[in-house]
Every structure is written in structure tokens, then in C-alpha cells.
């Protein structure tokens, strides 16, 4: 019955990568907490780098400087 929300920056994660993430986190909840995978829900949100901040800076700016 767990509900998992994963938020990542929008960086071109592929459908295959998202499948692997959903499969992996569902299995992890079986392995660590014996949760029923059939009722585990996972939602991935992809967020624009202008809308994500760390350390008071947007990820857009942090990456621009790191180049």
C-alpha cells in the first residue's frame, strides 16, 4: 500500500529508466518492509531546472556556472 513520490529534474530520463526506477523502488519496499507490491504506487515528477533550487540558487544557474 505504500505511496512513493520521486521528484527529479527534467533531464531526459527515458521511459526505460523510469520503468527501472518504478520496479526498483517497489521491490525495495518488499525487501525492507515486506510491503505488498501489488498495491504500491509510485509517481515520478520531472521538474524544470528553473523551478528547482539548492543552496538558494536555481539548478539552471548552478549548472551554467559548473560548465
Amino acid at each position: 500500500m505504500p505511496f512513493v513520490n520521486i521528484r527529479i529534474t527534467r533531464d531526459g530520463a527515458t521511459a526505460e529508466q523510469k520503468k527501472a526506477l518504478i520496479e526498483g523502488v517497489t521491490q525495495l519496499l518488499v525487501d525492507t518492509l515486506n510491503k505488498n507490491p501489488a498495491t504500491t504506487t509510485v509517481i515520478i515528477d520531472e521538474v524544470d531546472t528553473d523551478n528547482w533550487g539548492v543552496g538558494g540558487r536555481t539548478v539552471t544557474d548552478l549548472r551554467s556556472e559548473a560548465k
Copy 2:
């Protein structure tokens, strides 16, 4: 003052359907908990089926198999 977040798969819900959902859940909070509708906030998030998993599978894959 309640805050409600409804997450559904992105499947072409119409503006009329979303209105009905917002109106209905606001009224439900009046009926069950006597909450003030004027300050009830509802946000609907529509999520791509590649980004939603149940039972360790994406909804994209579950629907593809169900055809």
C-alpha cells in the same frame, strides 16, 4: 481551510470534469467535516502514464498489455 491534492493519470480529463471534481470535493468537506468552502483549496495534478507505477509496472505498460 482544507487543502486537497488529487493526482490522476493524464487521460484527457476535460475542464468540465475538473470543475465537477473541484466542486464535489469542496462540498464533501462541508458535508463530512463542516469545513468552510470559501477557504478550501484543491489542486489537480495530471501525470503521464510513463511516470506512474502500480505493482512495479508503469501504467503505460499495464494498459498496453490489457489491450
Copy 3:
């Protein structure tokens, strides 16, 4: 498959009221969007009034003044 998160102030909502809320919002998603109730998940969060703000004031303060 919808996921609904309802946030209310912690005001002594009873188990019966929370049942009615969960039942009602699940049915609403059937009625408005034809969603499958079996896979609809609802989570209610009850939040202390010191931790909830509207108009820049805590609900604790707003209620204190309204007495």
C-alpha cells in the same frame, strides 16, 4: 488509480468522519472521471494549527482572535 491527499487542521475529526471522507472522495472520482475505486488511494494528514498559516497568520492566532 487516483491518489488523493487531504490536509486538514487537527481538530478532533473522528474515525467515522474520516471514513465518510475517504468513501466520499473515492465515489466522487468514480462519478466524475469513471476512475476505478479499487485502486484509489486517499491519505488524510491532520496538521497542528501552529503549523498552518493563512494570510500570513497561524490558524492558532486567527482562532484566538475570533473568539
Copy 4:
């Protein structure tokens, strides 16, 4: 280490405005709670006005009437 999620209607907030918001809320957490800005994360979600309801009405409708 704080995590902040700011949800606003999608109204053309500029990258500069979002930068100011991220910078401001990160500094606020330093000023009020002495939180480490380096590990403060902020995510801004912009939501369509059809998907946001207040008082049982969509923001789309509320704005239309207010014209």
C-alpha cells in the same frame, strides 16, 4: 536540510522571479530557524488555472467572472 514546495498558478512567472523566490525562502529559513542554506531544497510547481480550485470554483472561472 529543509525542503520547500511552492505551488502557484501558471501565470508567466519569469526565471528572474523564480530565482528571487528560491533565494528569498532559503534565506528566510536561515533567518528564522538557522537552517543550513547549502542543503535547503526548493521546488516550484506551476499549476494550470483549470486545475486549481478555491471555494469550489476553478481559478479559470473565478478570473473570468472578475473581469
Copy 5:
């Protein structure tokens, strides 16, 4: 930089189990998306079974019947 929110029913998950869950999901994001573990944040919310509904019923009731 990912942010993960895991919601489970409050069932006595131990500190060791929560450590394993946090470690596992952080590693999963390295393995599937090459995300930097140092800036990955995970928050686990434990929710009372009266406040969690599936299929229009509370988990409290579903478990009571399943006995």
C-alpha cells in the same frame, strides 16, 4: 538532487528498516539515473491506518475484516 517522499502506514517500522529504505532508494537513483547521492533527500511519512483509504475503505477496516 532528487527528492523522494515515501508514505507508509504506521506499523512499527524500525529505525533499522528506515535506514535500509533510505540507503536503498538513494542507491537506486544512482544506479538508474546516475543521480548524485550526496544531494538526494528522502522523507518517510508514517500515516495512521484510520487516515489511509484504499477502495473507499480505511486500512483500519480492511485489516479488521481480514482477520
Copy 6:
């Protein structure tokens, strides 16, 4: 109309500090985006350090080592 959710570790933030945080973030949304403070909602969640992970470790463990 903005909705803000601030998540911090449960570390004894006082009611006064939470008031300052709610007041500050509401004003910030006025200053940066000209949002109406009357309809701005802020919810603060305080999370146990066993339930918060950074870098694959719980905050409980990170703090224990830092002593």
C-alpha cells in the same frame, strides 16, 4: 492563492519561529510575485530525524557522527 509546504526536521521549532516563517514566506510571495496574501496557505511539517535521509544516511546518524 499560493500553497507552500515547508518540511523541516523536528528539532523544537517554537510557535514564535513558526509564526515568523509563515509571515515571512507569505510576504515573500507578495514581494516577488505580487500574490494575494489573504489566500496564501502555508503548512509546516516537522519530520523525525529517523525518517529524513540525506546522502543515503538518516539525519539521526549524520548528527550522531558529527558530535
